[in-house]
């Protein structure tokens, strides 16, 4: 953990080789991911150009189709950056779709009231998990695992069957497209980009962001420096809960239904996106923009599989696993380099 502090090898006065300098650079994984994304995109262009792969809309669709994953992954970035992990993401997304669908369709509440309610519930769930993790010193893994069970269970308690949403506000919001000249974006994609921008600002330009890095870099040092360790940790899980609920709302908008089995295992997609985006799983190092590239790469795998037609959906899982493995090994090589 202490090996992941922000010192650049180049700044230490030694004269490392180019390879060593490259390996020591914090930005390397993000650059690799961005490069991978470009390579995959160009590969896709050359292969499916006749099928319209080159249309700007295909690229924008990546944002539209993965807006919820981006929001969830941004929340997960904060947690992982602080050295924790949140396994409740997928369940909380599923729960939010179910909760909002139930309130809107079965209870007849207006969407404008349901949205803040859902966000509040998500943030409160995250807060509770953070509170237990910090105050009772139980591993984040096991607490958020309990959260996973709990929210998935609550989905099923609300209703075993899926609830489709016919509310006019929801469908008009879902169908709204904002023209960008080159193509169109959905409201979900715009919300996701706003969340990304906000997260970028908070993480890199505010005191809270520095604290998240510090806590993830070395909890003991952060504590000794007088940083509010507990407050930061609890805030990070609250934020993740909030993002998951927001992702749930976007997912609900995207798919226009609530289903107790929505987003099963999406926490793994979110974690994979964060890792592929170059955030160290041990915490303390990473960029939220990397997460964007992580999500785009995962999304691109899906659309390439769609364009390919002959490839089946399970290749997504295999490709995600292989990428995850490759990036974990890159991370490992980087941290090893710094330890020695």
């Amino acid at each position: 953990m202490s090996a992941t502090t922000k010192t650049r090898t180049a700044a230490e006065g030694r004269t490392p080789s180019t390879a060593a300098r490259l390996l020591g650079d914090q930005r390397l994984p993000v650059l690799v991911t961005a490069g991978l994304f470009l390579a995959m995109y160009i590969g896709g262009l050359s292969r499916y150009q006749n099928y319209g792969f080159g249309e700007p809309q295909v690229f924008l669709n990546l944002l539209i189709d993965n807006s919820y994953l981006l929001v969830a992954a941004v929340g997960a970035t904060f947690v992982i950056m602080s050295g924790g992990i949140d396994l409740s993401v997928g369940s909380l997304i599923g729960f939010t779709t179910m909760f909002t669908a139930w309130l809107v369709e079965r209870q007849g509440l207006p969407l404008l009231l349901v949205i803040p309610l859902a966000l509040g519930v998500g943030a409160f769930g995250g807060f509770l998990m953070g509170y237990v993790i910090h105050n009772f010193e139980i591993q984040p893994f096991i607490v958020t695992l309990a959260g996973l069970f709990l929210f998935r269970g609550l989905c099923l308690v609300i209703n075993k069957e899926s609830i489709s949403i016919s509310d006019s506000t929801v469908s008009s919001m879902a169908q709204t497209r904002v023209s960008l000249g080159l193509g169109e974006l959905s409201i979900g994609a715009i919300v996701a980009l706003v969340v990304l921008g906000a997260a970028f600002y908070v993480l890199h330009y505010t005191r809270f962001g520095r604290r998240v890095y510090a806590v993830g870099g070395n909890e003991q040092s952060a504590l000794l420096m007088g940083l509010p360790l507990g407050g930061t940790k609890i805030a990070v899980y609250t934020l993740s809960g909030f993002c998951s609920a927001l992702a749930g709302l976007l997912f609900m908008l995207y798919i226009q239904s609530g289903d107790p089995l929505h987003a099963v295992g999406m926490e793994l997609d979110a974690i994979a996106a964060v890792v592929i985006g170059g955030t160290l799983l041990t915490g303390g190092s990473g960029y939220v923009l990397g997460t964007l590239f992580g999500v785009l790469v995962l999304g691109l795998i899906k659309s390439i599989i769609q364009f390919e037609g002959t490839l089946s959906s399970w290749w997504t899982k295999i490709a995600t696993g292989v990428l995850l493995c490759a990036f974990i090994l890159i991370q490992r090589a980087m941290t090893n380099r710094k330890q020695t």
Partner: protein, 365 residues
């Protein structure tokens, strides 16, 4: 709560006493809860030379979970965790079933054994890979095993080509659905695996080595324990157990489902290990506790069915159990909630846990 434990001579004995007491108490409590709803809950009757009854079915349906949890116990004892067991269950089932269904005579014993061998070898290879990443590459266990957890289901679906492969093999059906000496054959498989594991870990030094590696891998290495090799071995063993569970699950349904076989079993297995009193921080384990923990989970599921609570609430119950068990295991929670009184009664258990646990938290999280 550990008043009787104080009188026992050694602290280690006191601890095992402590670890097994609560899981057994919870299990007995859960079993008794069923009696008002099903008066003949404890009745076991003989039909067609087979024993039937709620107790038998709890053990039968809990068999795969017990197997996976036993393997998981050893991994957790080394301070690790294996999230890939569910995927390994799916891969083993998929490979074995697709080999059997490709054979001309599905009832040929040799073919069935070969197919099972292929499935189990694949499982062990998965374990070897996990162990390699954890022990050689030094990757956190949660993350290292996440890879197969994500990719493994894809591989299982690739093997079955996205279909649910069915078999008509009588000998294969026997493992998960057969009866032997009036009892389900699965129970014998589980008993054998548990017996071998207990014998290996408690009759030889292996268990001590595993605990030593979990307590402090670096110190163990320095005193001459090949801690990397032990870790790799433990992951392979865990995957083998998951593989056997995979055979059992696919044999019971005569089908391999790449998507749903063993879904979430890793979570149940971790839960079973935790209920059984094995600390997630490593360094100490109890196979007996894990078996009882797995039975508690299975009994909980059965109880939810018999009481007539909608089965969907199953997960909420499990969440409540995880939270309560973890809170009770947390020294800080006990100190805060039970205060001075609780601190006094739990005193015998206290010195051992936090002292070992605190430095370990740094390394393995």
């Amino acid at each position: 709560m550990s008043t009787p434990a104080v009188t026992t001579p050694s602290r280690w004995r006191a601890l095992t006493h402590h670890h097994l007491f609560w899981p057994v108490a919870v299990l007995i409590f859960l079993l008794l809860v069923n009696v008002p709803f099903t008066p003949d809950f404890f009745a076991i009757r003989m039909t067609d030379g087979h024993l039937y009854g709620s107790l038998v079915s709890i053990v039968l349906y809990g068999s795969p979970l017990i197997l996976v949890a036993v393997g998981m116990t050893l991994v957790i004892a080394t301070g690790g965790i294996d999230l890939s067991v569910g995927a390994v269950v799916a891969i083993t089932g998929a490979l074995t079933c697709s080999y059997i269904s490709d054979q001309a005579d599905q009832n040929a014993l040799a073919g069935v054994f070969l197919a099972m061998g292929v499935g189990l070898v694949a499982a062990v290879v998965c374990g070897l890979w996990n162990g390699f990443l954890v022990a050689r590459m030094g990757i956190q266990p949660i993350i290292a095993t996440l890879i197969i957890m994500v990719a493994g289901r894809g591989v299982a679906q690739l093997i079955t080509d996205g279909q649910i492969i069915t078999t008509n093999s009588e000998p294969y059906k026997f493992i998960g659905g057969g009866y032997w000496l009036t009892l389900p054959f699965s129970i014998f498989v589980v008993a054998a695996v548990v017996a071998v594991t207990v014998a290996l870990t408690r009759r030889t030094a292996l268990g001590l080595l595993v605990e030593s590696v979990g307590g402090n891998a670096e110190a163990s290495r320095l005193v001459g324990i090949r801690s990397r090799r032990i870790k790799i071995m433990v992951y392979m063993f865990c995957a083998l157990c998951a593989g056997i569970a995979g055979l059992m699950i696919s044999s019971n349904t005569s089908a391999a489902d790449g998507n749903n076989a063993g879904l979430w079993i890793e979570l149940d297995a971790i839960l079973a290990v935790v209920i059984g009193g094995t600390s997630l921080l490593g360094g100490r384990f109890s196979i007996g506790g894990t078996v009882i923990g797995a039975l508690v989970i299975q009994t909980l599921t059965t109880t939810i069915y018999t009481i007539g609570v909608p089965t969907q609430t199953n997960l909420v119950f499990k969440a409540a159990v995880v939270i309560v068990v973890c809170l009770l295991q947390s020294p800080k929670f006990r100190a805060k909630v039970f205060g001075a009184k609780g601190a006094r009664t739990t005193a015998p258990a206290e010195p051992a846990t936090p002292a070992d646990a605190a430095p370990e938290m740094e390394v393995s999280r």
